[in-house]
């Protein structure tokens, strides 16, 4: 019986030793290969569409990226849409969830256009645009640079004369998007 006890003790010690060795190895690698800073925020920011609209509740995409890194829900970005949520879910290993019910995704991409005859040159929209896509100055005509407009619509509320229209972004025939075959019903016409 004594022998059995010794054997038990030996196996116990052996297992504890092996476990400790591996634990030490893991701990050492965790310290040795520790990542400096937090590159995950950069990666999240790259996925976000940079519309800077604030619909997520944060003043811009970067703050939202930082919040996501800290654990915030990934379904708050309407311009990013479902594709954005999927990409974030894949990056962070989280579940794909539908867009927050309070937020609405736009059907098509939009930009804004100022109705120039109605503009009074108050510069309120210029101050509101997060990407400086409106040019103009006090008492001078304001115009939207369409190539820079992200469709965030932040300029609409401040305008005192309601002269800004939201228009869908037209695709030129050259940029015609090829439809996915599995979404299509084959029909031929003459």
């Amino acid at each position: 019986m004594f022998e059995q006890l010794i054997q038990l003790l030996i196996s116990l010690i052996a297992i504890v030793a092996v476990a400790s060795a591996f634990g030490a190895l893991l701990g050492w690698t965790a310290i040795r290969f520790k990542l400096n800073g937090d590159p995950i925020v950069e990666k999240i920011d790259e996925i976000l569409p940079q519309t800077q609209c604030g619909q997520c509740g944060h003043p811009g995409c970067r703050p939202y990226a930082e919040a996501i890194a800290k654990g915030e829900e990934i379904n708050k970005c309407p311009p990013g849409g479902e594709a954005g949520i999927k990409a974030l879910a894949e990056l962070l290993g989280r579940e794909v969830i539908p867009l927050n019910a309070e937020l609405e995704e736009k059907e098509t991409e939009t930009v804004v256009i100022i109705r120039e005859p109605d503009c009074i040159g108050c510069t309120k929209c210029i101050q509101a645009c997060p990407v400086d896509a409106i040019v103009g100055t006090a008492k001078m005509m304001h115009t939207v640079i369409l190539d820079d407009c992200t469709g965030c619509d932040l300029c609409i509320p401040p305008c005192p004369v309601d002269c800004i229209d939201v228009v869908p972004l037209e695709t030129a025939a050259k940029d015609w998007q090829v439809p996915k075959p599995s979404d299509m019903i084959p029909v031929r016409m003459v």
């Binding site: 940079q50 990407v131 400086d132 015609w176 998007q177 599995s182 084959p186 016409m189 003459v190």
Partner: protein, 531 residues
């Protein structure tokens, strides 16, 4: 003048397949001149690159050959009126593109149904012009690649400065199409003349003319012309014959067959020292230099079982498809669809009012039985037949899975951009999966994603710039505030001195006063003490 011999290519291409040719009966009739249509619709974009800009107005009278739209940017082409007529509209018109979406076009009403073409001068004479003059003429004439892609020829020449060999691609491999075949048979000398002119413009030392072995009459016609050339010119040109296989006419496949080398992924034939042009393009260059004629017309194969007089027709650009097939005698009662291009790479047209453009090489007026609708897509059984036929050594199966599951980065890493969309993979797929449509979808999504990424990067840059600007303004404000405070403090300090001096003076006065008071008091008290 010696007898020129023909070289049979020895290298084989990857994949590829023998297809049912169906070139007869269209290829057995000599080229016919098309009729002058009543209306001509010329889209501002009939070429690769940026749209041309219209320089005429509605109501203007035009003469044949007049320039009506100018090239814009480095890759673009001029457009000329093919008829004497009057501009009736400049507006969006349905196009003969895959999507059929309307695009801006100049619509001209023909006023003169007679066309007189200049008699051409001898092309040997035209060859005495300098390379710059020839290149400029080609550019002014609005000549683009007539093989189907429509790349502006002058831009291609300019971009291929390092190419020493000119390859004239006559390996027309798609079923039904026989424009190049007939052009070689009926206009062999003009083609060779055009080839030499192109070679001069592009500073190429050697010309290779290549065709397939299923065009024996074309081979003979070219050989006959080559045999009449002076010896010094014979030394600079060679005729190659390749085995007939689809897609031998693809420029990369043709180069592989001739040289045994593959054009590396993401590069162009200029990497192998070649500049490649189509037979029709050579003919257009000939017309440009010998008749001073800009690109106004092209050869189009009109065929299909619903056509009574199939053949190759010399059509004016802008002729509507409806007019074109009527010229060839279409039977509307059995017509099911009109396919623009060949059966492998072409597409059905949505609207027959669309025009024949610089990139239209064939119109197939098909009956319902001739080109029946394809059965529905079934699951992929991974049989691998698509891999066997792909001429670009891709894995079509994997590309399909990636495109379907929208993993576009993986598709790009599996070289989806090397796909030449020849259609062989879909042709052999037993499950009838429209593979090429999936790849086109993936390519367009990748392009969209790239554009979206560029835009979002720009938005980020602007956003950061704006934040920096606001930050700068805030700091500036603070700085000014701080300075003002400092100024006030300094003033206060300066005033403090003054005030100090004043205070000191006041203090002295007070002290003196106090002292005087004291001494007065002392005097008073001392006076009081006398008896």
């Amino acid at each position: 003048m010696n007898q020129m011999n023909v070289i049979n290519t020895t290298h084989s291409i990857h994949g590829g397949l023998h297809l049912d040719e169906k070139k007869a009966p269209a290829c057995n009739v000599a080229i016919q001149e098309g009729e002058i249509p009543d209306v001509v619709v010329l889209p501002l974009n009939m070429h690769a690159g940026r749209d041309a800009v219209a320089i005429v107005e509605v109501g203007e009278n035009l003469y044949r050959g007049q320039i009506i739209a100018e090239a814009e940017g480095q890759i673009s082409a001029n457009i000329h009126s093919p008829v004497n007529g009057k501009v009736v509209a400049i507006e969006p018109r349905p196009m003969s593109s895959r999507s059929g979406l309307p695009e801006m076009a100049i619509v001209i009403q023909t006023t003169d149904t007679e066309i007189v073409r200049e008699t051409p001068c001898d092309w040997i004479e035209a060859l005495t012009e300098s390379p710059e003059v020839i290149a400029q003429s080609i550019e002014a004439a609005g000549i683009v690649g007539l093989g189907g892609a429509g790349f502006p020829t002058a831009s291609k020449i300019a971009a291929s400065a390092n190419a020493r060999k000119l390859l004239i691609n006559g390996a027309e491999c798609e079923p039904y199409i026989c424009c190049d075949d007939r052009t070689m048979r009926d206009y062999a000398e003009q083609v060779i003349g055009g080839a030499f002119l192109l070679a001069k413009a592009a500073a190429c030392d050697f010309i290779e003319v290549a065709t397939e072995d299923n065009k024996p009459e074309a081979i003979d016609a070219i050989k006959d012309v080559l045999n009449t050339l002076p010896e010094h010119m014979q030394r600079r040109i060679q005729l190659y014959v390749c085995p007939t296989k689809y897609p031998m006419g693809g420029e990369r496949q043709l180069l592989e067959a001739i040289t045994g080398q593959q054009v590396p992924s993401n590069t162009y034939p200029v990497e192998l020292g070649y500049l490649v042009h189509n037979i029709g393009t050579a003919l257009a260059v000939y017309n440009c230099m010998t008749r001073s004629e800009p690109l106004l017309s092209r050869m189009v194969t009109l065929t299909g079982e619903a056509i009574r007089r199939p053949g190759v027709y010399h059509l004016l650009l802008g002729t509507t498809v409806k007019d074109a097939i009527a010229m060839a005698g279409v039977d509307e009662t059995i017509l099911a669809q009109v396919i623009h291009g060949g059966p492998m790479m072409g597409y059905p047209l949505q609207n027959l009012d669309a025009p024949v453009t610089k990139i239209t090489n064939c119109l197939i007026a098909a009956t319902a039985d001739e080109i029946p609708p394809l059965p529905e897509e079934q699951p992929c059984i991974r049989c691998g037949q698509c891999v066997d036929v792909c001429p670009a050594t891709l894995l079509p199966q994997q590309l399909y899975w990636f495109a379907r599951s929208e993993e576009f980065e993986k598709a790009a890493s599996f070289k989806i951009h090397d796909c030449i969309e020849c259609g062989l993979c879909s042709y052999v797929c037993p499950s009838h999966i429209p593979l090429v449509d999936y790849y086109r979808y993936a390519k367009s999504e990748i392009k969209q994603l790239d554009q979206a990424r560029i835009k979002s990067e720009r938005s980020k840059v602007k956003f950061d710039a704006r934040n920096d600007r606001l930050e700068q303004e805030r700091l500036e404000k603070e700085r000014i505030k701080a300075e003002k405070a400092k100024q006030r403090a300094a003033n206060k300090a300066a005033n403090k001195d003054k005030n100090d001096a004043v205070a000191a003076a006041l203090a002295r006065v007070k002290a003196k006063k106090a002292q005087t008071q004291q001494s007065n008091d002392a005097d008073n008290t001392s006076e009081d003490s006398k008896p």
